[in-house]
């Protein structure tokens, strides 16, 4: 068994990633790409944003470079920095720079987690200039036509401290994602996890119950991703109630009362 090592530039997606179209999001993304407009994906966690990006990277045949943003991410982490090698300083490109150089798709996941001063470095890339200033090198990198910038965020976490600045968000074409409609979600769960249609229907119903709990002490209901996890466990002959506890209930909350309530919901259903 060996794990594959890929450089970001060679991260082409060869096999079509499974994706169910919800509306006209593919057409919009392609149009934005042709017009060299950056794209913003909004939506709750696990509703298919990342899968959509993989699908688009496959469609457009460009390498996909994903950066998961966190609150310690600095501009240097994106653009690049000098390192010391054998007594000399060497410039090393960051992931954003590499994506620009190779004309790939750079996907900044959960952009609001990054600090505000970090977000600003993408501004010149995200308007019609499409250039990346590299101050420390004294260079300006002009993005090729193929380059595409996409960011995602989850408006559900409504902390005042973590909101996207107007100057950032008003540069993007926005695509809104939500959990798919019941019929579609059933198909996705069945397709991804391999459970039968009846079980997929019950899982979707269960997800709906947890989504009803949003506002009663649960931050987010179960995402489609969690349903797929639960479905996979069930397909490997784990008992459905146990699968829902491990794959869904424990994943959405730590609160003992809430866990018990979700447990009661799933044991009522299966």
């Amino acid at each position: 068994m060996t794990a594959h090592t890929l450089t970001p530039e060679s991260h082409f997606i060869d096999r079509e990633p499974y994706y169910e179209t919800v509306g006209d999001e593919i057409a919009i993304f392609e149009a934005a790409y042709r017009n060299r407009l950056p794209v913003l994906l909004k939506g709750p966690t696990g509703c298919g944003k990342t899968r959509f990006m993989e699908h688009m990277a496959w469609r457009l045949k460009r390498p996909l470079i994903t950066v998961s943003c966190h609150d310690d991410l600095t501009a240097s982490d994106l653009v690049g920095r000098y390192l010391v090698k054998g007594g000399e300083t060497v410039w090393v490109d960051g992931p954003l720079t590499r994506a620009v150089r190779c004309g790939g798709i750079c996907y900044l996941d959960e952009i609001v987690e990054a600090r505000k001063d970090t977000m600003v470095v993408i501004h010149p890339l995200a308007d019609d200039r499409r250039e990346l200033p590299m101050e420390k090198l004294g260079q300006l990198l002009q993005a090729p036509e193929e380059f595409c910038l996409a960011i995602s965020y989850n408006p559900g976490y409504q902390s005042v401290l973590k909101d996207l600045k107007q100057s950032t968000r008003q540069r993007f074409v926005a695509l809104e994602f939500d959990y798919p409609a019941a019929e579609l979600e059933r198909r996705i769960v069945a397709n991804e996890s391999g459970v039968d249609a009846a079980m997929a229907e019950k899982l979707v119903k269960f997800a709906q119950m947890t989504r009803n709990l949003k506002g009663s002490g649960l931050e987010e209901g179960a995402s489609t991703r969690l349903l797929v996890h639960a479905g996979k466990l069930i397909a490997s002959s784990v008992d459905p109630v146990v699968a829902c506890r491990s794959a869904v209930a424990q994943a959405v909350t730590d609160d003992a009362d809430m866990l018990a309530a979700i447990q009661e919901l799933s044991s009522s259903l299966f």
């Binding site: 229907e201 119903k205 119950m209 009803n212 506002g215 979700i262 009522s268 259903l269």
Partner: protein, 705 residues
């Protein structure tokens, strides 16, 4: 060591004292005799509770003592405790007659044939079942405690305990099944029909209502079987264990009502046939039907929700029009709104279309639609006409905060207030919803107080500024780090020279930006009782001004509240500065306007501040109280031990949620009780009132560094 059983002769004097037989003439002899037969450990348990209940009301304690030996045989200890607390709560809430009727029902309360039942107690299961019922679709129902299981369409009432089965798990399953059936009544149309009228035509309306309840139980249990098969299996198992089954005469009804499209109409149609039968033997998970409660709740709800929905739709349209104004020319009014309910696969959702184009309804609109749909089985067209300007009085439609002073003049002085529990140390339990608390604003006083204070303490202010500025953390570059954004060239040159000399090369070659994150929220709670009049009040106000000046430098989030009150019915918390207020002229004027009020009831204030503090996002939360002495209230038990114990408990509660409580007190006389009262908090005694303004700020500095 096994302790000796107490004898009749030993128990009687104890009861004599606690039950004050000298004045009340309760016959304690038979009680003592019954108790002397118990094991010592059981005696201790019962005697402890008799003493605790006697603290609340002696007659209740007598009733408890009478029933205790029998209950001990049938129930576990926790259930008996819950029953004792339920007795006291009922007395607190509704008086002695209500409490005595609870006592009378002890037999049915512990509804069990077996010995040593482990009951499911309401307090233990309410949280889980509350969330459980929110997870099911439909209106958001509350779960509350009452005497018998029923629902009025907005809340589900459960008894204080469920104890039909020996094991706690089974009792919980049963409570869950009861909740589910009551939920099904609101969700699947039972409450939509006019139940009272339907039964009124019969010679015995009560009997008719019971038969109708039975028919609905059959219909809804079948429905649960389709929607929640796992729960249905549990119900069958519980019924089998109790030997419950479907009487033969009811079989045809059950078959008919099990049809997927069966509704309340079918049950009503079958009522004529079911009426002559003898009473249906109630199933274990079956609650009661209470048409009065349903009608009352529905009457209060209908008009309000209609108004709310129409106003919300008008707002929705307005927002929609604004968003579109830039793109298209305005469409002429009125717009055509249509709502299609989608009630399938157990979920309830609504499609809202505006002139044929879909519009996503926000959560509050969706909840209103759900509620209206459950009342009518559809959305009546008149509910979808957006409200015109000024058509409704917004104040009447949406709940308004009450004006605290106006409320106090009327009889409904609990309306709109927040209720807090209080610790009764005699009972060793909380008194539920005991304090009626309201927030009030301090009237700002624009006088020379602030200017004078700053002038008087000019030297201190300067000194404080310097000390606090030194505390302030700032963003700065840290050199010689192992990781960082940039290379520390000085370090690199040194390291290369070292390497050249054959010495070890340092790996600390980077510069890193250190970011200051002082993340503290602090709430100050100031004593505004009558006893602070004069010196102390002045010193408190001066202290607050200096404190604010210093805190503004640090950028910590802070709030200032004052507390006072007269009796538990009128607990008042005075807003001086909330966490969101800026330190401006008005806040300064409010500090100047702090005036001594009434008494020192502290527990409710600490509990409310704990809640406010926990709502603020911060790494460290500090609660500083400033008071002049021991808790006290007007003609009330709060004076003395009771108040000390309640304050201690409130501080413990605060500490338990991760808040750091700190108390500053000016009480010079009675230091003996302080360590006990402030058990969970750190505290300091200031002897000289004039020192207060200087000390408070300094204490804060030491507390937060």
């Amino acid at each position: 060591m096994v302790r000796q059983q107490l004898t009749h002769g030993e128990i009687e004097p104890l009861l004599d004292t606690w039950l004050e037989t000298e004045f009340t003439f309760h016959a304690v002899g038979p009680l003592a005799h019954a108790l002397s037969g118990l094991a010592r450990e059981e005696q201790d348990f019962v005697l402890d509770w008799i003493k605790r209940i006697a603290n609340t009301h002696i007659t209740l304690a007598v009733h408890f003592a009478k029933r205790a030996p029998d209950l001990l045989r049938r129930l576990d200890r926790r259930a008996i405790e819950a029953w004792a607390v339920h007795l006291c709560d009922t007395y607190d809430r509704a008086g002695i007659y209500a409490a005595l009727s609870v006592a009378e029902q002890a037999g049915s309360y512990a509804h069990t044939g077996q010995d040593h039942t482990e009951s499911a107690l309401f307090d233990d299961i309410a949280g889980v079942l509350g969330n459980f019922v929110h997870g099911l679709s439909g209106r958001r129902l509350r779960v509350e405690q009452g005497e018998a299981a029923h629902t009025d369409g907005e809340k589900i009432v459960l008894p204080a305990m469920v104890s039909r089965f020996p094991g706690r798990d089974d009792n919980f399953r049963l409570a869950k099944a009861m909740v589910a059936l009551l939920w099904a009544q609101t969700r699947y149309g039972t409450l939509r029909a006019d139940l009272a009228t339907a039964c009124a035509g019969f010679a015995q309306p009560d009997h008719a209502l019971r038969q109708l309840n039975a028919l609905e139980t059959l219909r809804l249990t079948a429905r649960i079987g389709r929607e929640l098969p796992g729960l249905h299996r549990d119900i069958r198992r519980l019924m089998d264990a109790l030997g419950e089954s479907l009487p033969t005469a009811w079989q045809p009804f059950a078959e008919r009502l099990a049809a997927p499209d069966a509704g309340i109409e079918d049950s009503l149609a079958l009522l004529d046939a079911a009426y002559p039968l003898p009473d249906f033997p109630a199933w274990c998970h079956q609650g009661e039907l209470r048409p009065d409660a349903v009608t009352a709740a529905r009457a209060a709800r209908l008009d309000k929700e209609k108004a709310r929905l129409r106003i919300k739709l008008a707002q929705l349209l307005e927002e929609h029009a604004r968003a579109q104004a830039s793109r298209e020319p305005a469409t002429p009014d009125p717009r055509d709104i249509e709502v299609t309910p989608r009630d399938e696969n157990g979920a309830l959702d609504f499609e809202l279309t505006l002139d044929g184009a879909p519009l996503a309804p926000p959560d509050d609109v969706r909840q209103l639609l759900t509620s209206v749909y459950l009342d009518f089985g559809e959305i009546p067209p008149e509910y979808l006409v957006p409200a015109g300007d000024g058509e409704y009085d917004l104040k009447a439609v949406f709940d308004q905060p009450e004006d605290p002073d106006a409320v106090w003049q009327g009889t409904y002085h609990e309306k709109g207030a927040e209720l807090y529990p209080e610790w009764d140390h005699g009972r060793q339990h909380y008194r539920k919803n005991w304090c009626t608390m309201r927030e009030k604003a301090v009237t700002p006083v624009y006088d020379d107080f602030v200017r004078d204070t700053l002038a008087k303490h000019a030297g201190v202010v300067r000194h404080l500024r310097r000390r606090f500025e030194a505390l302030r953390d700032e963003n700065r570059f840290e050199k010689r780090q192992t990781q960082g954004d940039e290379i520390d060239l000085d370090a690199l040159v040194e390291a290369l020279a070292d390497a050249h000399d054959g010495r070890e090369m340092s790996d600390r070659l980077f510069v890193r930006l250190h970011r200051a994150e002082r993340n503290i929220a602090v709430a100050f709670l100031v004593d505004m009782s009558g006893s602070t009049k004069g010196w102390i009040n002045d010193a408190e106000r001066e202290a607050l001004i200096l404190l604010c000046e210093a805190l503004e430098l640090l950028g910590d989030r802070y709030a200032i509240y004052g507390f006072s009150g007269t009796t538990r019915k009128r607990c008042e918390l005075f807003r001086i500065k909330t966490f969101d207020d800026a330190y401006d002229d008005e806040v300064r004027a409010r500090i100047a306007g702090i005036r001594p009020q009434e008494y020192t009831r502290m527990g409710f204030a600490l509990r409310h501040m704990t809640r406010l503090l926990n709502a603020v996002e911060a790494k460290t939360r500090v609660l500083v109280t400033l008071s002049d002495g021991r808790p006290d209230d007007y003609f009330d038990v709060y004076r003395g031990e009771y108040g000390v114990e309640d304050t201690r408990m409130a501080l413990l509660e605060a500490a338990r949620t991760g808040i750091h409580p700190f108390c500053i007190t000016l009480d010079r006389e009675a230091r003996d009780y302080l360590p006990h009262m402030y058990g969970a908090a750190r505290f300091i005694i200031i002897d000289d009132v004039r020192q207060l303004p200087l000390k408070v700020t300094d204490i804060y500095r030491r507390l937060t560094t």
